[in-house]
């Protein structure tokens, strides 16, 4: 049996995640079981493959392995800063993260909006 780790979403709850499992998929399962009960809205789930950017998050603590993810949503600076797409990372230990989805501004440009579930 592979290693299992705890993924904590700041302010929302926690999920159990296998070492080879996409963090977002573990969070979807946890929400289905009612374990992210303080999350004020549906978990943002899109393509689950690193392309659409909906599940953008910031890793506050912990190590992870990453797949390739779209530079339209995670720049090199973001990457150095711990910003990820939760669908394209796999835990190497317990993780704490904060959801940081991008939202469209009125002018059609992407504006960042922090949505921490607090």
């Amino acid at each position: 049996m592979s290693e299992r780790y705890t993924i904590t979403v700041e302010g929302s709850g926690s999920a159990d995640c296998g070492a080879g499992e996409r963090v977002l998929v573990a969070l979807e399962r946890a929400q289905g079981f009612g374990r992210l009960k303080n999350m004020p809205c549906r978990l943002p789930v899109g393509c689950r493959r690193g392309g659409c950017g909906i599940c953008r998050a910031r890793v506050i603590e912990g190590d992870y392995r990453r797949d390739v993810m779209s530079r339209a949503h995670v720049t090199s600076d973001d990457e150095a800063d711990g910003v990820v797409l939760a669908c394209a990372i796999y835990p190497l230990g317990d993780l704490t993260l904060r959801l940081e989805p991008k939202r469209l501004g009125k002018n059609g440009r992407m504006a960042e909006m922090s949505q921490g579930g607090k």
Binding site: R42, P44, V45, G46, C47, R48, R49, G50, G51, C52, I54, D67, V68, M69, S70, R71, A72, L104, G105, K106, N107, G108, R109, M110
Partner: protein, 306 residues
């Protein structure tokens, strides 16, 4: 001949993050065949039931999404007459030399006000595998994967789709088969150049040039079910379905390729004649129009694009 001018979607070029994973997805799972790889690394794919050289082009990039979609025209001279009409409409037209994509003749291209590049071309070499034409079997090479028969259509997201509607109707001679009108304006249009319920569609969206999905034609509702089995067996990310669209009446699944570009497999849909009136949908019923069985939009429909 009755069908002139723009015949059909010819090919679409998509950006992918991981080329080997993309090729495996489109060939082994969707059921396409790789025709060739170009010197710049672009990979050219087709369905075995298509005659022409290719219908899907994959380009490795650091973002996923849409590069361009090209329509085939009936006559070489159509390229010149359409270029004149497009320039008169006010869009600058550029030229792509024959051979820029293997097997494809010269192309003309321009940018829509929704931020999408569209091209026209006439000549395409044929390539193997393709249907036989003398005493043909229903297939020559046994279908595999989801058994896709052709690249069918695309849905694109961007601003100014009222202008796209006018352009496609007045300049490219398309018809609008269906539309959705919200209290604050036009939300979506389904456009056809043929007897299919749609060849291209647009949804109003603030960010230009975005890609919602590329669709592959399947033979039947049973094949949609078989595709659903494949999606689960190979842990492919599913958006919604199997379900049905009220708009076009197509039976469908939305899912994602390994770079997060949405795909659709699609069966059925009504036949459209150019004298048919446009079918219209309003805000209260758009859920049923998009997903007929769920009767509501899912969270991803209006927000998840590449």
């Amino acid at each position: 001949m009755a069908h002139t001018g723009v015949l059909r979607p010819g090919f679409i070029q998509l950006r992918v993050l991981d080329m080997p994973a993309a090729v495996e997805h489109y060939t082994k799972r969707i059921g396409l065949h790789q025709v060739t790889e170009g010197p710049d690394g672009r990979v050219y794919l087709k369905a075995a039931d298509e005659f022409d050289h290719h219908s899907i082009v994959l380009r490795r990039a650091d973002t996923a999404g849409y590069d361009l979609m090209a329509f085939k025209v009936r006559e070489e001279s159509d390229l010149d007459s359409f270029e004149k009409r497009i320039v008169e409409w006010g869009y600058p037209v550029d030229h792509v030399a024959a051979g820029e994509q293997p097997g494809i003749g010269r192309r003309i291209g321009w940018m829509l006000e929704s931020g999408h590049r569209i091209e026209l071309y006439h000549h395409a070499d044929q390539s193997e595998p393709k249907p036989r034409i003398h005493n043909p079997d229903v297939w020559d090479l046994e279908p595999h994967g989801m058994r896709a028969r052709r690249f069918d259509h695309a849905l694109l997201y961007g601003p100014n789709i009222q202008r796209n509607l006018e352009f496609f109707e007045k300049v490219l001679d398309f018809s609008c088969a269906e539309r959705v009108d919200m209290p604050d304006g036009l939300l979506a249009i389904w456009l056809t150049a043929s007897m299919k319920a749609h060849d291209i569609a647009f949804v109003n969206h603030p960010e230009p040039g975005k890609f919602h999905h590329a669709a592959f034609d399947l033979e039947s509702w049973m094949d949609v079910g078989h595709a659903a089995d494949i999606l689960t067996r190979y842990d492919i990310s599913v958006d919604i379905g199997p379900t049905r669209h009220g708009i076009t009446r197509g039976q469908t699944i939305y899912f994602f390729d390994p770079s997060g570009n949405r795909n659709e497999v699609f069966a059925g849909g009504y036949s459209y004649y150019p004298d048919n009136p446009t079918r219209t949908w309003d805000a209260e019923n758009v859920g049923k129009g998009i997903f007929y069985y769920e009767r509501q939009l899912n969270d991803a429909f209006l927000s998840v694009v590449t």
